[in-house]
Amino acid sequence: MSNGDRITGDVPGPRADRRGFLGAVLGTGMFGLVVSVLYPMWRFVFPPRDVRAAEEAVGIGPADDFPFNSGKLIQFGNEPALVVRTAEGEFRAFLGTCTHLACTVEYRPDLGLIWCACHDGQFDLTGKNIQGPPPRPLPPLEVQLRDGEILVSRPK
């Protein structure tokens, strides 16, 4: 207890022990106080996970109204989705968020491709990334025709 001795001078051991003990208690208490103030603040700034359930299926109107060689962005849950009707009349659908840096893609009838304006990423009509910086294909969605109505859903 050399530290205690130096401070209290003539006071022998037990008192110095008490001082050290009180210091430790006070220090631990202060540390606990600081943590219990900072921890809720730290947690507060991180938002809770989205609880909204992912959309199951979205109807986007009659197939006859959808021109050949065109695309349409729809709201799918809280994400955009791209529905494309190819020049041959086939329907394809993908999540519309570019796999590079999350811009929203669009169909380019002049190129016959899916294109992202932000960094020039290109995807073919199977959703495969074919040019530019996107690292992965677009996640595909399922398109069904029910009574002539287009229904977009997550693949099973």
Binding site: N78, H100, L101, A102, C103, T104, C118, H119, P133, P135
Partner: protein, 356 residues
């Protein structure tokens, strides 16, 4: 006792607060005499920051930070509020100018080796402030809630998300959720008008205190020192430059009012020809031409890490160039800085003229 009211008030204050010290300080403060524009850039940046504070407070009187009302409230400011168009345009133009003068200030400090001992910490606080100003630009960009800013925010925050381990958590923190939504707008607003101004004010104060404490640096060429009084000579010159800058801002705001664009549509495509503000163009261009994978590393991670390492090296320049303090600055460092500057300028121009 004199009947002159000003003298009376000064006497009253002097009796209580000993103003003689301040007067003595004002009399004796001097700055080295070099008739170059570089000496005014820090002051101009400070002036522009003050303009941002004043116009920002004015905009706060009408701006509403919600997804439903933000765009309309800015529209209201620029079309209905008296001089609203002027206040908003000056805020935007001044932001752009501020980044420009801060960058020029930084490079002039770099090439004149002013960062050398004992001013290492002044250099670092300056760099941190430039970072804060860019974050100011990034957060303020979203506030009008238009198409361009919506996607710029998506890209910028997504970049945080690609960081290993902590990326996803921090991306959600900055966005205020999984996606860029009205929640992100509220959060950016909080950064822009509360957190960043507070941090910047602290740093500006430290930066200026250090300049005051150490005096202005002098060039390495050991010419005999000549000095000019700070009050009133240098201050008057400062003010003259500031008036010119203010005139320039007013002129630009009048003839080139800042555009508002179209309201953001979270489920619409990214607009064609989208690009960030000029000071982010060099990074933007690298992101655009970097392939998905390079040397079997994710291209985005590579870009992020590359700029990160560059930033660290730039911060450590006062220590990498120890010889500068003894009057022998490293030529390698000087050339590296020059190459960096030229590359950034080339990338910026390339981004402007790059069309698909």
């Amino acid at each position: 006792m004199s009947l002159n009211p000003l003298k009376y008030v000064m006497g009253w204050l002097d009796e209580r607060y000993r103003l003689e010290d301040l007067r003595e300080f004002a009399r004796s403060k001097s700055v080295p005499m070099h008739h170059t524009i570089w000496y005014y850039l820090g002051g101009i940046t400070l002036f522009l920051f003050l303009i941002q504070v004043v116009t920002g407070i004015l905009l706060l009187m009408y701006y509403r930070p919600t997804e439903a009302a933000a765009y309309e409230s800015v529209q209201y400011i620029i079309s209905e509020v008296p001089f609203g168009w002027l206040v908003r345009s000056i805020h935007s133009w001044s932001a752009s100018f501020l980044i420009a003068t801060a960058i020029i200030h930084m490079f002039s400090v770099f090439f004149k080796k002013t960062y050398r001992k004992p001013r290492e910490f002044t250099w670092i606080t300056g760099l941190v402030m430039l970072g804060l100003f860019m974050f100011f630009g990034f957060t303020g960009y979203l506030l009008p809630w238009n198409q361009l800013s919506f996607f710029a925010t998506k890209v910028g925050t997504e970049l945080v998300g690609i960081l290993p381990v902590v990326g996803d958590t921090f991306m959600r923190m900055i966005r205020g959720g999984e996606h860029v939504t009205g929640g992100t707008l509220t959060r950016m607003f909080g950064f822009h008008v509360a957190i960043l101004p507070a941090l910047t004010t602290i740093l500006v104060t430290i930066h200026l205190l250090m300049v005051q404490r150490q005096g202005m640096s002098e060039p390495l060429t050991g010419r005999p020192r000549r000095a000019m009084p700070f009050f009133p000579n240098f201050v008057l010159r400062d003010i003259m430059v500031w008036v010119i800058v203010l005139g320039l801002l007013g002129t630009l705001s009048l003839y080139f009012p800042w555009e508002l664009g179209l309201k953001a549509d979270p489920f619409g495509p990214a607009p064609q020809g989208i690009e960030p503000e000029w000071y982010f163009l060099f990074m933007f261009q690298v992101l655009r031409v970097m392939p998905a994978e390079f040397l079997s590393i994710d291209g985005r991670v590579l870009v992020f890490m590359g700029f990160g390492l560059l930033g660290v090296a730039w911060t450590l320049v006062p220590w990498l160039d120890r010889g500068a303090a003894r009057g022998r600055p490293s030529r390698v460092i000087n050339w590296a800085g020059l190459v960096l500057l030229v590359v950034v300028i080339i990338l910026t121009i390339w981004a402007k003229f790059y069309h698909h």
